[in-house]
Structure formats: C-alpha cells, structure tokens
Symmetry: C2
C-alpha cells in the first residue's frame, strides 16, 4: 500500500461519510420529514442526550493525551463548547433546553435511567475508543464533524417545519454547532493529514472514522427498533 496524497486521503474520508454517516439512516429521514410523533421525538432527544453527555468526557481524554500546550488549548475549546463557562451555558445545557422543550423532566433525562442500553453501550464505546487507541485515531474519530453541517441544517429545517411542539428556541443547540463543527473538523482534518505519515496510519484514520459512523448509526438503529419498527421497547426503557 502506497501513501495516499492529501487529496486522495481526504477523498477517502469523505467517501466514508457519504456512505455511512447517519443522515442516511431511516430514522433520521423520518425525523427530518416530520413523520415522527412527539413520543418518538422525545425518545430521540433523551437518548441523544447520552451521546451529548459523553462528548466533553471524550474531549477531556483527548486533551489529556495531546503533547503540547498549543494542541491541548485548541482541543480544550471543545470541552468549553459543551460544558460552558460554568456548566449552564454550553452544549449540554442547550440540549437539556431541547429535552425540556419537548416536555421531558431534566432529572429523568440526566439520570440516564430511561435511555436505551444500546445507546449507552455505543456512546461509551466512543469514550473507550479515544482512551485506548492512538491519539491519531482518537482525533480521526472526531471527523464525523465534517458531515455535521448538512445533517444539522436538515434537522433544524425539518423539525421546525414538521412538528408544532418544536420551537426555534429549543433548537438553539444546533445553531451553535453550525459554526463549531466546521472549525473543529477543519483542525482535526489538517491534524490527520499531517500526522498520518504511512499508509497504515492513514488506514487507521479511515477505520476510526468508520467506527465513529457505526456509533452514530447504531444509536439510530436502537431508536428505530424500540420506537418505530417493530417498536419493541427493552425492559426499563422510556415508554412514550
């Protein structure tokens, strides 16, 4: 295997997104087409909270593994984006505005008791991945952000148009992400291009991105199974 050029490498990364990013999942299409009922949207939001809650944790692990003040400072901004200056004004707080706007009790959401076990296993797999793999793979696994603006734009437009129980204010989380995600993805992409110096390291990056797409996909599989078709909710999980 010969080293891919930067352009070829970026092309392979983007091809993984084109095939495997969760904007292609049946559940996402139902969500943005306004085809779900309120209970199904609630189930999505409270399960997605699990993922949101793990993001600053996985970013703190990555910060702990980066070798220079400059790299750590750049990545630390991601933790601040999600936790806010004092916990009340970051991405997680905005996500809880979304769940609250959908009528869910905040303590129920943050207790994680009603989430699907499969969601927790998938989100925790992401945390363990950035802990146990190389720093290069940990950074590469964040590259789903490359594809986030598209799905966020679809989600916001579809949800505002499709559901009368969703307001622009409850979707504030996504507004912020429209600028944060491209900034983060741009940095991570340049990092991977610069640090993957062998074809094997490039392959590890491609595999890390595939893994991350699998995490997001599996969460929608679990939602679809429990709340759409066949609609078999596991013991103990949220019942709309």
């Amino acid at each position: 295997m010969t080293l891919l050029s930067a352009n070829e490498f970026e092309g392979r990364l983007r091809a993984i997104g084109a095939e495997r990013y969760h904007n292609r999942h049946a559940f996402h299409r139902l969500l943005h087409d306004g085809k779900l009922n309120k209970g199904q949207v609630q189930a999505w939001a409270l399960n997605r909270y699990i993922y949101q809650s793990r993001i600053p944790i996985k970013d703190a692990i990555i910060v702990s593994r980066l070798p220079t003040p400059e790299l750590r400072a750049t990545w630390r901004v991601r933790i601040e984006d999600h936790d806010g200056t004092d916990g009340s004004d970051g991405g997680i707080a905005r996500w809880l505005k979304l769940t609250g706007g959908l009528g869910l009790d905040g303590a129920m959401v943050t207790s994680e008791q009603a989430a699907l076990p499969a969601t927790i296993f998938a989100a925790d797999a992401y945390v363990h991945f950035v802990q146990n793999r190389s720093v290069l793979e940990a950074v590469a696994s964040s590259l789903t952000e490359l594809f986030a603006p598209t799905i966020i734009a679809e989600r916001v437009e579809g949800m505002l148009g499709g559901y009368d129980f969703v307001t622009k204010e409850t979707l504030a989380y996504f507004g912020k992400r429209m600028t944060q995600a491209p900034r983060d993805a741009d940095f991570a992409l340049r990092y991977c291009i610069e640090h993957a110096r062998t074809r094997k390291e490039q392959q590890l990056c491609l595999d890390a991105l595939t893994f991350k797409c699998n995490v997001l996909w599996a969460m929608l599989d679990a939602l679809h199974f429990a709340y759409v078709t066949p609609g078999l909710i596991p013991p103990g999980a949220f019942k709309p």
Copy 2:
C-alpha cells in the same frame, strides 16, 4: 434501606432474570421455535461469537482483580473452559464448530468484520464493566448464568427440531455449558451473598445483573432489527 436476608436477596436477583433475561426476547423465541431461516441463524451465530470471544477476556480481568490464590484458582477455571487447554478444545473452539457447521468461514467470523457494531459495543461494555466497577459488581454481573440452563435447553431442543441444517455435533458448545454454568453461578451467587454486607452493596449487585441482562438483550435487539424486522442491515455488516 435495610439489609435483605440471603433468601430475599437471592429472590430479587432471580426476579431480575425472570423479567429481563434474554430468553424472553422475541428473537430467542423465533430461534427456538424454528422460525428463522439459515441466514438469520448464521447472523445470530456470528454475532454471538463476539460475545463468546470476550468471555475469557472478562474472566481474566476478574481473576486479575481477585485477592487470594483460592478465589483466583476458582475463577481461572472459567478461562480454561472457554480457551481450552491449548486453544483448540474450549468453548470458543466449540462455538467456531457451530459457525462452521452453519457454513460460515472461520476467518470471517473471527475477523469480526461482519458483526453488527451494536454487538461489539454491547460485548465490550461488559468487558469495561468488569474492569471499572468493584469486584463485587464484576462477580454479580456473571449471575445471568443462574438462568442459562433453561435457555440452553430450549435452544438445543428448538434448534435440533426446527432446523435441518443444525446437528447435535454442531451444538456441542451447549452440552458443556449445561454443567459449567450452574457450577459457576452457584459460586458467584454465594460470593455475592457473602460479600454484599450492606443494602447498598446488595443494590449494586442487583444493578450489575440488570446491566448484564441489558447487554444480552441489546444484542438480540440488534439482530432482530437487522435480520428480522424491519431488516435494515447496517453498512458493512453480514448480508445472508
């Protein structure tokens, strides 16, 4: 909360199994009623391989955390059960006889490339659980073995009767487990009764068993979603 008597504690543990063990899952019923086609049984076997492959790993972690030669020696037998004396005659080798008997290539199965990501996330969650929780919780999470004989008997009878592509020889794995599981469960149950000395510790045991039931349940959810209803196979996973 006051301490439960040994009988009450055991009763609570058994009640979790009665409600949440995966013999109650729709996919298990389809499997043992002979209602699946060969591709669906293949998907079950190659995904269940992921779980089997993690068992000696999680048991080795538990051995590494037990404090006395006596306890370690007792638990070490479990590793031997799955890995065999030289790798060729243990539970994993018998599982590969099952997948081989179903017509699956062994290298494909052990590569894990065709397994559902959700299966891998669930099985790895079990490994991380025994690494990160207390030894008492790690031991308690093994208590699903209390319920194994019932499901194994159902599986063997149902599979032999329901599928002409299944032979008694390919199901040799389950024969061994009929004696190993009760021996192991008996030890683990006595360990938990002896070492859970506060109501809080008893609750941690109950929660650990619930967690483990969730692991097994989530694996069948993922199989059912991908291969039965709605039958949406995630990108990259086994296509019968």
